[in-house]
């Protein structure tokens, strides 16, 4: 169900520096790729806000621009035009090093293909973000263990990815996303490589994280996965088609 009123109200905010309740604000984001001499507009003016503690699904068919948007929100990429604030900071104009710092501190990625280092133990994988912000070793190990405990893998910390099941690997990835206590958890098709039962498990974990106050943005093309979220942004041809509130927080 489309709630025109909500959309309208939020659009009024857009373009100004957001207040502290707003984690994400995008204003007229465009991403244009050059394919030879032809311009491909992957995003055509995307504007929305996400408040602290929200659980949002971004849904749309293949090629609609979900991953492109995801990369912008995750600071892996910069928009062709438009503005993006993360926690009140304008990230759309940051350089490489600043973006790396934001990815490290503010963003916790969960990928469809897990993206764990194959030769490293679960513990070391979870430790990685802390290594890149210079957390001392003992603190680092402690934090990584706590994070693995949160996803129920305390007894698997020394296992390598190939010694873990798909669901366990994704839980390691979630532990890694959580370890730095980021502002948002960004999950791009996190259940795309999992069977339905394991998918339910992982979605249950996201629900717990949401209850604990984490802000979650989930990209999916599956309705039943999107149904776990509290709000769904439908995206089509690089535009937000509708902003749907599924249930109250």
């Amino acid at each position: 169900m489309i709630e025109e009123a909500v959309l309208e109200r939020e659009l009024q905010f857009v373009g100004t520096v957001p207040d502290e309740r707003i984690v994400i604000r995008t204003d007229d984001l465009w991403k244009t790729y050059m394919m030879g001499s032809e311009e491909v507009h992957a995003l055509r003016g995307v504007s929305f806000d996400v408040q602290h503690g929200e659980y949002v699904a971004i849904m749309g068919p293949s090629g609609s621009g979900k991953s492109t948007l995801m990369n912008l929100i995750g600071c892996l990429d910069t928009p062709t035009s438009g503005q993006y604030w993360l926690n009140g900071k304008l990230v759309s104009e940051m350089d490489d090093d600043e973006l790396a710092r934001i990815r490290n501190k503010e963003i916790g990625f969960v990928f469809q293909t897990f993206n764990l280092l194959p030769r490293a133990s679960a513990l070391h994988n979870v430790e990685l973000p802390l290594i890149y912000n210079g957390t001392p070793r003992t603190t680092r190990l402690e934090m990584a263990k706590v994070s693995l405990q949160k996803v129920g893998l305390s007894d698997r910390i020394n296992h390598k990815p190939n010694e873990l099941s798909g669901g366990q690997r994704q839980r390691v990835a979630i532990a890694r996303a959580l370890v730095n206590n980021p502002s948002i958890i960004l999950a791009d098709e996190p259940t795309g490589n999992l069977d339905s039962q394991t998918s339910q498990e992982i979605m249950g974990l996201f629900e717990v994280l949401h209850k604990q106050g984490h802000t979650i943005i989930l990209v999916t093309h599956e309705h039943d996965i999107a149904a776990h979220a509290y709000r769904v942004l439908h995206i089509l041809d690089g535009r937000i088609n509708s902003d749907e509130r599924l249930r109250a927080y």
């Binding site: 892996l76 990815r103 912000n133 210079g134």
Partner: protein, 409 residues
């Protein structure tokens, strides 16, 4: 610093994960360092040897000979000089003793080889030398037992001898040699002293000798021979001026014109060391291009392998970047990896060289010593090679777009 340790850990694990590939990658560096260290140990060994065993005269001491290889350097000239120059005689010695006022000691020696015998034990081809009694202070000999010659022995051409420790052990395995008569060539000599053991030089024993007083030696083996004089300058005297005094005396006695060259040769240990030094330079000159080439090839191979590694680990780089690794973190990671890889090759090359060389020194008379700087140079040069040739691949890795890198498989 954290990323440095992380990089070191990654480097070690990736070297260990591909042991054979790492070894092949490092072949150039290993060979380069191997050659450097091998050559260095032999040169250093030779230097130590010359100092300890050959150049034993000490400072201010020099030899005067009919001809010497160190004085000419050129072997043909040396042979010509041996043929043409007049013999140096015992009378020359007396004249030098009278004329060279800046000399502290002026001794003479000469030698031949003889079979010697005691009872039914005989030793073949032992070095027999005539020496003036002052030679004890002009050589590195020390008295272990009994005494050395005194002027009385020499003046009276007494049939006494002073023997090296090999001769003492060979002829008197279980009895006291002092006072015993041994047969040297045709005549008998009584043993008055035994020398302290000197050891070997280039595999040859230095203790297989019999010394006779100079005059006894000349009586026994004939005076038509050329002696070697050993001169020590007085303390504080300029050695060059002592050389000049020697020249004046000998040139006068040999009736040389001012425009004629010396018909004798003056050689000091410094010159011996210089001769070896020039050999060292030749050896180093040959080794240098070999080392340079293998390090260059080694570096290029490392660069290629690192490029392959970067491609192979593109996904890993993407993951690290997505987790907050900066360009610099990735750059450091791959630079540390290539330097450690290469430094590890240097370590292997060095250990191989030292192992091989110490093995060689056990079975062949090649003196070997590992100079202190060798391990430092080996590790640091090879590390620098890895660092330098790692720059290009590491830069590539650091410059990867995180999205593209994450999509790689």
């Amino acid at each position: 610093m954290h990323t440095f340790f992380e990089a070191a850990k990654i480097a070690i694990s990736s070297i260990l994960a591909h042991k054979l590939r790492s070894f092949l990658t490092l072949l150039g560096v290993i060979i380069g360092v191997f050659v450097v260290i091998s050559v260095a140990t032999v040169i250093e060994g030779a230097n130590v040897y010359i100092k300890e065993k050959i150049a034993t005269l000490g400072s201010g001491v020099f030899r005067v000979q009919k001809a010497s290889l160190t004085g000419f350097g050129d072997f043909q000239k040396f042979l010509d000089a041996l043929r043409k120059n007049p013999d140096l005689t015992i009378d020359d010695l007396y004249a030098l003793r009278a004329g060279v006022t800046l000399a502290d000691q002026l001794g003479a020696q000469d030698g031949t080889a003889q079979d010697i015998r005691y009872g039914n034990i005989s030793l073949e081809s032992v070095g027999v030398q005539g020496v003036t009694p002052d030679m004890i202070t002009l050589s590195n000999l020390e008295v272990a037992q009994g005494r050395y010659f005194i002027e009385f022995d020499n003046d009276n051409r007494r049939d006494v001898c002073f023997i090296g420790s090999d001769v003492a052990k060979g002829l008197f395995p279980s009895s006291d040699p002092i006072g015993q008569e041994i047969r040297v060539g045709r005549d008998k000599f009584s043993v008055i002293g035994v020398a302290t053991e000197l050891g070997t030089v280039l595999g040859f024993s230095q203790d297989n000798f019999v010394l006779l007083p100079m005059n006894t030696f000349l009586k026994e083996y004939g005076s038509r021979r050329s002696l070697t004089f050993v001169v020590r300058a007085k303390k504080g005297a300029d050695v060059e001026r002592v050389h000049d005094q020697v020249r004046v005396v000998l040139r006068t006695r040999h009736k040389l014109n001012y425009n004629q060259a010396d018909d004798f040769s003056i050689a000091s240990d410094e010159e011996t060391e210089q001769l070896f030094g020039s050999i060292t330079k030749v050896v180093a000159g040959v080794a240098f291009p070999v080392v340079g080439t293998s390090l260059l090839i080694g570096g290029i191979v490392i660069m290629n392998i690192m490029l392959a590694t970067v491609t192979e680990r593109t996904r890993e780089i993407g993951i690290r970047k997505s987790l907050g690794a900066t360009r610099r973190d990735i750059l450091v990671q791959f630079l540390v990896e290539s330097s450690m890889l290469s430094g590890f090759g240097g370590l292997i090359g060095m250990l191989m060289a030292i192992t091989l060389m110490s093995g060689v020194s056990k079975i062949a008379p090649v003196p070997v010593a590992v100079p202190l700087w060798a391990p430092i140079i080996a590790i640091s040069v090879s590390t620098l090679v890895g660092l330098f040739f790692g720059i290009y691949p590491a830069n590539r890795a650091a410059g990867l777009d995180p999205i593209v890198a994450l999509r790689a498989d």
